[in-house]
Symmetry: C2
Subunit: 315 residues, 2 copies
């Protein structure tokens, strides 16, 4: 199975899928367009959230970082007057960025460093950065063009988003491991991550959209919009200001032509007919993940839905 | 006053001098030949020891690092299988290296970064790296040529030293601040640091030896060898294998022609006549610094000795 994910809800469902599948069966294709450099270190927020979540080390309170992490390094950096101490990095989290930066500077590709990190933490899944070359989401706002973390963390995603560009996307290439993973996949899952700035950049890497479009396996998306709201983050405001309907149906329209099925929350059951009209199957289920049991339950729904679609396709 | 120092004992005396002098009166010229890169970060062990010691933040147990520092980052790096986790770096210590590395990569000279660190920690002294360009002590041993920290930390300075070279020394230039500091100085103090690998590289920077030789102020060294032994570290073994006498007199011979006076420990009082025969004055005093009171007492001895020499020179 191949799952596309950003951080947050995407990582949670990926974790549910990991638990439900045999070891080694899951490949997670992760957004890297919000990667950035801070304190001279390369930080990959979505890769880290997926890594920590799949390793069972994520901080359940914050949605980012490691559970129980401490902040001695960051506090000392603040004492030195370092710039950008608004971005919270724990001591153990710093180790991830230090390790990654050193390996990248030594010439190793991001995909190899990511594999080393996942292996070291005993994650029985393949984590694939969407590309090895730098891509940077630039957010157009009334305050000007903002780097993604500037928009997202520093300014608390409070600026209305007028446009999005992914700098470097034209030169990006899909990871080498994606072709084989898609060829063997029984399903492709679009996790409930922001369709515009998490899944969007992944699909914008030249070649990835076409490969998914041409994939024989059923492709299923889980809506990150429930009852007209994003569970976390600015997806709802961003959809609105960029002219999309702020609903599971709006998300389905973004993915239309690329997916075979959509999982929507029970709260959105009434949207099922109009989503079906887009040419996809719809599954209605509880999709809000408060705890690990919720992740497991949603993973079972997704796997069952995929199996149904696969059975129908083969019939 | 200008003090030349490595880490350890040198930093302790510098701290004593700092406390005894008016704010801003002390310039410490620090060895950087044991600087190295680890985890992709630029580490300046002697600068850090002097910085932390003068800021009152040094770990009194270890002689390096920050008091009460924690090790979460290093433990996580070890979990990732990072190389070189034998070099102990605490979480707050990592902040120093991260801050410095980022500034250096942005093109700032080491001297400017050092000044920023000292200022941030409220150190009322000028810390001058011996040079802004990279110099690396290479230790010739029976096991081959070793990088300094490899010899010193990883192999616990257990290899007999057959030779020392300072790679990059020919291109090194003295810091810009040294000339004015020496011109204004009432005294130059060679702190009780290793004469071969701490004070040695400082004097080997083209121009520094000549400037000190031509300085009008009295120049005084404090012996790091007491009773034929180094208080800490491998200075005694290193002196022996490189053909020097392992005594305060042996150290005095290394500095002969460059200093006007030598402070030796009471345990070495019998060496005073032969040191005086080298053409320098000798002061005998307790030189072992167990606590801050010892640092203050030795600083008073050194300042008194310098004042005496200055008075004689002016008379």
């Amino acid at each position: 199975m191949v799952a596309l994910a950003g951080g947050g809800g995407g990582a949670k469902l990926a974790h549910g899928l990991l638990r439900a599948l045999p070891p080694g069966a899951l490949t997670v294709l992760v957004n890297t367009a919000d990667d950035f450099t801070i304190h001279g270190l390369h930080v990959s927020p979505d890769l880290d959230t997926v890594l920590y979540t799949l390793a069972g080390l994520a901080n359940p309170q914050t949605g980012w970082g490691l559970a129980g992490d401490t902040y001695a390094t960051l506090e000392m950096l603040a004492r030195y007057g370092a710039a950008d101490t608004w971005f919270q990095i724990g001591d153990r989290d710093f180790a991830t960025h230090i390790f990654r930066t050193q390996r990248l500077q030594a010439g190793e590709p991001l995909s190899a460093v990511t594999a080393a990190l996942a292996s070291a933490l005993g994650v029985p899944a393949t984590l694939l950065p969407m590309t090895d070359t730098p891509v940077a989401t630039v957010v157009e706002t009334d305050a000007g063009h903002l780097a993604f973390q500037d928009y997202f963390v520093r300014r608390h995603h409070s600026d209305p988003v007028r446009g999005l560009t992914f700098a470097g996307i034209a030169e990006a290439q899909p990871p080498l491991g994606l072709g084989p993973a898609l060829a063997e996949a029984d399903a492709v899952v679009f996790c409930p991550s922001n369709p515009l700035v998490s899944i969007g950049p992944i699909l914008a890497v030249p070649g990835i959209r076409d490969r998914i479009a041409g994939c024989r396996a059923p492709r299923v998306a889980v809506s990150p919009i429930v009852g007209g709201k994003a569970l976390r983050g600015p997806a709802d405001q961003m959809l609105a200001t960029l002219g999309h309907e702020v609903s599971a149906a709006g998300v389905a329209r973004i993915y239309a032509g690329l997916i075979d099925g959509m999982v929507i929350d029970e709260a959105d059951a009434a949207l099922a007919p109009q989503i079906a009209d887009l040419g996809m199957r719809v599954a209605v289920a509880p999709t809000v993940m408060h705890d690990e049991a919720d992740r497991a339950a949603l993973a079972e729904v997704v796997l069952g839905f995929c199996a149904t679609l696969l059975g129908e396709a083969e019939a």
